[in-house]
């Protein structure tokens, strides 16, 4: 139960608060030269400009590339500071200064470091988590709705409908889903919500199978017989009598799908067919991290760890749920 609660909190945190918690903009770059690939925990001093923007002071240290150089001094009416590989000058008049005429300094914190465009990685991870998780949740929702609907239909109607749907679900189960999704996502470029629906649309067969089996076992029982004798129409039978019985199965199956669906979205984004770059997602942050793997391990490692933790928690929670339901029966 504890896992489920932790997971719920994490999901809520990312899904709702992510963008609010994010310390800085995720798409606009502050300073792509000075702030490029800073390691996690970096604190960079910055001048405060009169227009409210920050002017980071971060030169590359030629001796030790891992360290940044924060030196600056005043020459006449200008400050000379380091920005990336070279010295830059800024007029004192454009900066906020204190009473003694010294420029005010504040500090920029990069808890998770920065990416290669100098963007704050923590902000991108928080916002990216929201897209990854909401795609996962929406995909689970659509897969369960489709799976439950088609499962009941094929279980109740039988005959050729059942045959057709079983064949179709066999087909879907036979092709690796990532391959199918790659093709569809690459050729149609569906956008974030379309992607979620697509992932859901290929995820229904496993759920439909379970629901179909349950419907079959119910359809031969006295409850359905009595309902039919009382003249209940088939659609009403499906919604009012079969669906409530199948709902626990759908719930457990859906819970077990959440982790894999989140991974599926991440894989697609990693391959370049999912959520497209200016908008962050854990998968495409990882893909960008691949290009700078040997310079900056944190860009690829952190989203991967978050993905792993999320999937593990989702799996553990679903497993608990499955056991709880099994105990009740």
């Amino acid at each position: 139960m504890r896992n489920a609660i932790i997971l719920g909190l994490l999901l809520l945190l990312f899904a709702t608060l992510g963008p609010l918690l994010a310390p800085s903009s995720t798409t606009a770059t502050l300073d792509p030269v000075a702030l490029r690939l800073l390691p996690p925990g970096s604190i960079v001093p910055a001048f405060t400009m009169k227009n409210g923007k920050a002017l980071p002071i971060a030169g590359w240290d030629s001796v030790d590339p891992g360290k940044t150089n924060h030196e600056w001094h005043i020459e006449g009416k200008e400050v000379v500071y380091r920005r990336g590989p070279r010295s830059r000058r800024a007029s004192l008049a454009s900066l906020e200064c204190d009473a003694s005429g010294q420029p005010k300094i504040h500090h920029l914190h990069f808890l998770a470091g920065t990416d290669r465009y100098g963007r704050d990685l923590l902000s991108r991870l928080l916002v990216g988590g929201r897209s990854s998780l909401s795609v996962g949740l929406l995909a689970v929702l659509s897969a369960s709705l489709l799976g439950a609907g088609l499962g009941i239909v094929s279980g109740l109607l039988g005959r050729w409908v059942d045959l057709l749907l079983s064949r179709l679900s066999d087909t879907f189960l036979a092709v690796p889903r990532i391959v199918l999704l790659m093709v569809v996502a690459a050729l149609f470029e569906p956008g974030t919500w379309g992607l979620a629906l697509l992932v859901g649309a290929t995820g229904w067969p496993a759920i439909a199978r379970l629901v179909r089996a349950e419907t079959h076992s119910l359809a031969g029982g006295p409850m359905v017989l009595a309902a039919r004798a009382a003249g209940v129409p088939t659609w009403r039978l499906a919604i009012r009598h079969i669906l409530p019985h199948a709902s626990t199965i759908v719930l457990v199956a859906a819970g077990l799908r959440l982790g894999p669906f989140v991974l599926l979205e991440a894989s697609l984004s990693f391959l370049g067919f999912g959520i497209t770059p200016p908008q962050p997602s854990w998968g495409n942050i990882l893909a960008e991290g691949r290009d700078v793997l040997f310079e900056a391990w944190w860009v690829a490692t952190l989203p991967g760890l978050l993905l792993g933790v999320t999937v593990m928690l989702a799996n553990a929670a679903a497993d608990r749920m499955r056991k709880a339901v099994a105990l009740k029966k």
């Binding site: 690796p176 050729l187 982790g259």
Partner: protein
């Protein structure tokens, strides 16, 4: 025998459905199948000529049957990107993928069964910890991330294994040792997570078998423990082969992604590049090949699991007589 034919038949239907589905999908793509957009230098006659070459002037159903009848003869059309027959491009990429996929399945099987056995014999040991904690954790991590971390650790920090491709650049031809070194990381990245369900399943079922009445009886009669374990392992083996067959689509999917991470010159990377370049004949051919491979693999797994299950043999022997 009948059941094998029936399986084969349903497999063929599945492959045809996949191709039909892919055909309909490609039909619905927005844009121009020739990839020329509205190129002003392309005259109407030339366009008509090109459409005739690619058969785009024919109705959908006719193109579909045409594709199937050509595909049956091994002709999948010409790749737009490589300007070579799709079948040849795919064949060249097939054996690297087969090599990676089969060795990954081998690793999953070997690690799963051995670790599962060890965990069942000694609950609470390191092996049990590995089976119940480490492998499931590996299974939950994204495969491409595992690949990147493996590259970072073994190729960058330790510098002991190559980071990508199948051969070192300075070698020409086939060097078994060089190939093995290149194969090691991608094969473990696909195989170890794949071992997780096998190990867990094997540990549970072996534990059950070891406490079953026949085994207790044999132990009482003085049969030694090693022999008992071997017997019990054999009995627990056939659901594992079924499990491997069921996990085949997932394994193939994993191979596709990991091929991209390690720049492995296989079907997965080919498919990704074909999609990025909108090389539709190659995409269609790749889908057909992957679906066929998965259906065939599942069939083989079914046959194998039947072959190790003595119950199946006796019943079929009875029916034959």
């Amino acid at each position: 025998m009948m059941s094998i034919l029936k399986r084969l038949g349903s497999g063929v239907i599945t492959v045809i459905l996949v191709v039909l589905l892919a055909f309909l999908l490609l039909e619905a793509i927005p844009g121009d199948p020739l990839g020329m957009g509205d190129d002003p230098t392309l005259s109407l006659e030339d366009r008509a000529h090109l459409e005739e070459i690619y058969g785009l002037d024919q109705p959908l159903m006719q193109r579909f049957t045409g594709f199937v009848s050509h595909a049956l003869r091994g002709d999948l059309g010409i790749s737009l990107r490589y300007h070579r027959p799709v079948s040849r491009v795919l064949l060249e990429a097939l054996w690297p993928t087969m090599l990676l996929g089969l060795s990954a399945i081998f690793v999953a099987f070997l690690v799963g069964v051995s670790m599962g056995t060890a965990a069942a014999l000694r609950p609470g040991s390191v092996a049990a910890f590995f089976v119940h904690r480490v492998l499931p954790a590996l299974d939950a991590l994204p495969p491409f991330w595992l690949g990147l971390v493996a590259i970072w650790v073994f190729s960058w920090k330790l510098g002991v294994l190559p980071a990508s491709h199948m051969h070192s650049a300075n070698f020409v031809g086939l060097h078994p040792l060089d190939l093995l070194l290149h194969l090691l990381l991608p094969c473990l990245v696909v195989g170890l997570p794949g071992a997780a369900p096998i190990a867990r399943h094997h540990a549970t079922s072996l534990l059950g078998t070891l406490h079953s009445a026949p085994i207790r009886m044999a132990r009482g009669l003085g049969v030694d423990e090693t022999r008992l374990t071997l017997r019990a392992t054999r009995a627990a083996l056939h659901p594992i082969i079924t499990l491997l067959g069921l996990a085949l689509p997932i394994t193939v999917g994993g191979v596709v992604v990991v091929e991209v991470v390690f720049s492995w010159p296989g079907i997965g990377r080919l498919q990704q590049e074909a999609l990025l370049a909108r090389d539709l004949p190659l995409v269609l051919g790749g889908l057909l090949l992957i679906a066929t491979a998965v259906v065939l693999g599942t069939l083989i797994a079914d046959l194998l699991s039947a072959a190790v299950d003595p119950r199946w043999r006796t019943s079929s022997g009875m029916s034959r007589r």
